[in-house]
């Protein structure tokens, strides 16, 4: 079935680009990730279609204000709590730039370990909404296997735990934001992107390089940033 978004993407050539990216990355990644996995896990990961959008961040542009975290928690959970944010920013105030700060966001992994690890199907790929990997809170039993799985490949884990309402949290690109009036998802808006005061977060529909950080931590600075006295290179 081709939905409206796929149709539009097809016209724009986006679907072709996404599929090409998927194919290119697959061989080495799959071999590397296959060790120690069950057949079902590998099958789940490999058969997962790529997300149609990804969050990118600029570590050298971020100002550490945590507004993205507050926006994420507020839009999704309706309350303010840094522990309930799906994007995490943390700092060493005494260190030198740029080693003083990182933003760690969910990667919408091409081979999502969190989806593979979920025993109930609560974590799945939302094919209606651009293949975003997301949590169905109703189905989540709180086993935290998704968090553990993510923790194996990401430091720190990007899947988080809502200890107040007891379910796993992960970035859904703002598909399910009951406390925000904007439309989210791959073709919509994301609260963190909208709220960031220095434009240090954006989305792309191109699959980032999956190995390492470079694909996800990019340069979002330009001439105007340089005019303010900050480095653009």
């Amino acid at each position: 079935m081709v939905n409206r978004r796929d149709f539009l993407k097809g016209i724009a050539g986006g679907a072709g680009a996404a599929v090409a990216g998927f194919a290119l990355g697959s061989l080495t990644d799959t071999i590397e990730k296959a060790e120690g996995r069950s057949f079902e896990e590998i099958k789940t990961m490999v058969e997962t279609p790529p997300s149609e959008a990804y969050l990118l961040v600029d570590r050298e542009k971020c100002a550490g204000c945590r507004s993205c975290m507050l926006a994420c928690s507020l839009a999704h959970e309706g309350k303010e709590n840094l522990s309930l944010s799906r994007i995490q920013v943390f700092e060493d105030p005494l260190a030198g730039f740029p080693d003083d700060l990182v933003q760690e966001q969910c990667r919408q992994c091409q081979y999502p370990e969190c989806v593979a690890a979920c025993p109930t199907g609560a974590l799945s790929v939302d094919e209606v909404n651009g293949n975003v990997r997301l949590v169905d809170e109703e189905k989540c039993i709180g086993c935290q296997r998704c968090i553990e799985a993510c923790d194996q490949i990401n430091n720190p884990a990007r899947a988080a735990w809502n200890h107040e309402d007891e379910y796993s949290l992960k970035c859904d690109l703002c598909i399910d934001t009951p406390h925000w009036e904007e439309n989210g998802g791959p073709d919509g808006k994301q609260a963190c992107v909208e709220i960031c005061p220095v434009n240090a977060i954006k989305t792309t529909d191109q699959i980032p390089v999956q190995i390492g950080q470079k694909g996800y931590k990019v340069n979002l600075r330009g001439k105007n940033w340089e005019k303010l006295g900050f480095p653009s290179e």
Binding site: C62, S67, L74, A95, G96, D99, K227
Partner: protein
């Protein structure tokens, strides 16, 4: 009220135990300063005790907005009796930004009340509801940065390096939640430990509550540090309205990267200022990032490649850059290093700024030096290098040599040297109000001086300062037209200063007018509630003129109310908030009355009346002052005029005070609040105490 966590933590250092206050008991005071003053009033029975008396109480209060997306609400307010003012140690205030206020709320508290005195060095570890008094023997003597590094590791056992950091789960297990964040630590350095009158409380690299010397009160209580870490949620009444309001503010009033407007008074002031504008860093050709407190929309400080000057802003480096530039021909890293030293030792930079200037004047006149009338060994050849700053800061913080006198603060040191009166009369010593260094000049920008002398300290509130002084004076200095004409500025300010509709006329007549009384009253009431109680940051509010706003109008008063109502679920008007501010201001005024305040004491230093403010040359006091071009209305015409070379007329100022007291409902003979005024504000209990102590007529 939504936004409140519901509990205030009382720390009894004498008995090493804790109690809680239900925030709802004090809900009418909302947050920050209001909560602090109301709790202080109840907790400290004898308001005439000295700052270092164990019964002095320091309150640290957040607001319903802290830890939420309400823009630039990342600060925490501190109240208590301060050792800094002269001659009386007034009940005073200070605040600092960063992550502490948000983290305190995530730990479940709206504030902390620090009472009593520990019998040995102690630090407090707060992780959600677990509050522990810890031995600080091994931390005592460490500087403010070293102390924080020790505590970060101690509390969460996690690497301080951001690239190695893991989620931290508290000992209570998964139901307690997890966090990636470092504990937020507020601490003191040597200046506080050794009870100088200039000890600051420092948090992270460059947040400090300095200008009330509460760090020294911590030192007197043997309190080295408070660490907070929390995983709880702040409830928000209307999340979608808060998100929408934030987007509205960013779209319509915040700086736009694609459209910087550098000619607007250097982009420093108020809501739409550019990122990093306040911070030191790229002046010394280092790569930097902007850096902001939790929830900030403009992120005005910086972190640098070398780490020197991290988060230091404004006076943190302005106290020294003039000497650096004189020595090296331009600003260098020496200024940033001097800023670092002020953070590490936890010492008030305003003291250093005026202190270095004063010592230099005395040295140049042959009065101070080795074998001189005032014995002092300081490496004057090194002035401009960080090594001079280090020597001076070390000596003051450890009360060594000349530092023993200076640790008493400048007014008390000058008094000991027998120089106070003559140097205040000549202006050699620029302490204009209550022994505080002249920040902006009472002779020219009168609302700053008037507010300070009617209060208890250098107000350090830039609400009018950005638009009536900086934007105009910088434009004139660089040969540009100010962003808007004087008449338009006056109209905007009049429209926005609800409900008094004040007119900013700084002419020779205007500064003694009833209009100026209305402007100062608006300022006192506005800051007491909207800023010091709600913690809206001075670097963003009030916002009168805004380069991005509709018709260049700023976000005040719409923004303040909109964010507050979205978070709390209340539906208050701006005017109602102003009335809470008036109540808090009157409560403070009553505390000062109990401490012995009388109108006769509300006089500036002699030079304010006897010496014309300086002309076009470099100011002998505040290192950053440029000529004062201000809006004036003369012969029915609004214009910008250089009002330098002005002194205040003592008699006219005293007539103005009477007008101000009348406007406030205070006794014009004594300057103390009338019973009727207090009762109308719901402060009958306060009036009773004043009557008991014979401080009400």
């Amino acid at each position: 009220m939504k936004g409140h966590m519901g509990k205030i933590l009382r720390l009894d250092l004498t008995n090493l135990n804790t109690k809680e206050i239900n925030t709802s008991e004090y809900e009418e005071f909302v947050g920050g300063h209001g909560l602090g003053s109301a709790i202080f009033f109840d907790a400290v029975k004898d308001k005439t005790i000295s700052a270092f008396h164990p019964d002095n109480v320091i309150t640290m209060m957040t607001s319903p907005l802290c830890g939420t997306l309400a823009p630039a609400t990342g600060r925490i307010e501190l109240n208590g009796i301060s050792p800094q003012p002269y001659p009386t140690e007034w009940y005073s205030r200070s605040n600092f930004g960063g992550r502490f206020s948000a983290m305190l709320k995530y730990a479940g508290y709206d504030g902390i009340v620090i009472e009593g005195k520990a019998d040995k060095p102690t630090w407090i570890n707060i992780v959600n509801e677990d509050v522990e008094f810890k031995d600080a023997e091994s931390l005592w003597g460490l500087d403010a940065w070293e102390t924080q590094e020790e505590i970060w590791t101690d509390v969460s056992g996690n690497s301080t390096s951001v690239d190695e950091r893991e989620w931290y789960q508290t000992e209570r297990g998964r139901d307690e939640g997890r966090t990636t964040q470092k504990p937020a630590v507020a601490t003191i350095g040597a200046a506080g430990e050794n009870k100088t009158r200039s000890g600051a409380i420092i948090h992270d690299a460059g947040n400090g509550a300095g200008n009330a010397a509460f760090g020294s009160v911590w030192g007197s209580k043997n309190l080295k540090a408070i660490s907070v870490l929390g995983t709880k949620s702040v409830e928000v009444a209307n999340p979608s309205a808060l998100l929408k309001s934030r987007e509205w503010a960013e779209d319509n009033y915040n700086n736009q990267e694609s459209d910087p407007k550098p000619n607007w008074g250097s982009g420093v002031g108020a809501f739409g200022g550019v990122p990093g504008a306040e911070g030191f860093g790229n002046i010394a050709e280092e790569q930097v990032r902007p850096q902001g407190c939790v929830s900030c929309h403009r992120c005005t400080r910086k972190r640098t490649e070398s780490g020197h000057g991290n988060e230091s802003g404004c006076v943190d480096f302005l106290f020294y850059d003039v000497h650096d530039e004189q020595k090296h021909g331009g600003p260098t890293k020496e200024t940033a290093k001097a800023g670092d030293l002020s953070q590490r030792y936890g010492i008030n930079v305003y003291f250093l700024e005026e202190g270095i200037n004063y010592l230099k004047h005395l040295h140049e006149r042959g009065i101070l030096g080795e074998g001189k009338e005032i014995e002092a060994s300081l490496p004057w050849d090194e002035l401009g290098n960080a090594s001079f700053a280090k020597e001076l800061i070390y000596k003051v913080s450890n009360k060594e040599g000349i530092g023993e006198d200076l640790a008493m603060g400048l007014p008390r040191a000058a008094k000991k040297w027998g120089r106070l009166e003559q140097d205040l009369n000549s202006g050699l010593l620029g302490l204009q109000y209550w022994g505080y260094p002249q920040h902006y000049d009472a002779r020219t920008e009168v609302e700053w001086g008037y507010g300070s002398i009617l209060g208890e300290r250098d107000i350090n509130e830039h609400d009018f300062n950005w638009v009536v002084y900086w934007q105009v004076s910088l434009a004139k200095l660089f040969g540009r037209n100010p962003p808007v004409k004087a008449e338009k500025l006056a109209k905007i300010i009049k429209d926005k200063t609800i409900p008094y509709n004040a007119v900013p006329n700084y002419s020779n007549e205007g500064i003694y007018s009833k209009n100026m009384a209305k402007l100062v009253a608006w300022h006192r009431h506005y800051t007491r509630f909207w800023k010091q109680s709600l913690q809206y940051c001075d670097w963003a509010y009030a916002d009168f003129l805004n380069p991005y706003g509709p018709e260049t109008r700023g976000i005040t008063p719409e923004g303040e109310t909109r964010f507050f109502n979205a978070v709390t679920g209340k539906d208050i008007s701006f005017k109602e908030g102003m009335e809470i501010g008036r109540k808090i201001w009157n409560l403070d005024r009553s505390i000062w009355a109990l401490q012995g305040r009388h109108r006769d004491q509300e006089e500036f230093a002699g030079y304010t009346y006897d010496v014309a403010s300086w002309g076009p040359e470099i100011s002998p006091h505040a290192n950053y002052e440029v000529p004062y071009y201000m809006p004036v209305k003369e012969d029915g015409e609004w214009k910008y005029k250089n009002v330098a070379s002005r002194s205040l007329d003592k008699e006219k100022f005293n007539e103005w005070k009477t007008k101000f007291y009348e406007l406030e409902g205070w006794n014009t003979e004594t300057g103390r609040p009338k019973r009727e005024t207090l009762e109308n504000l719901g402060l009958g209990k306060v009036a009773d105490e004043l009557e008991q102590k014979n401080k009400i007529e």
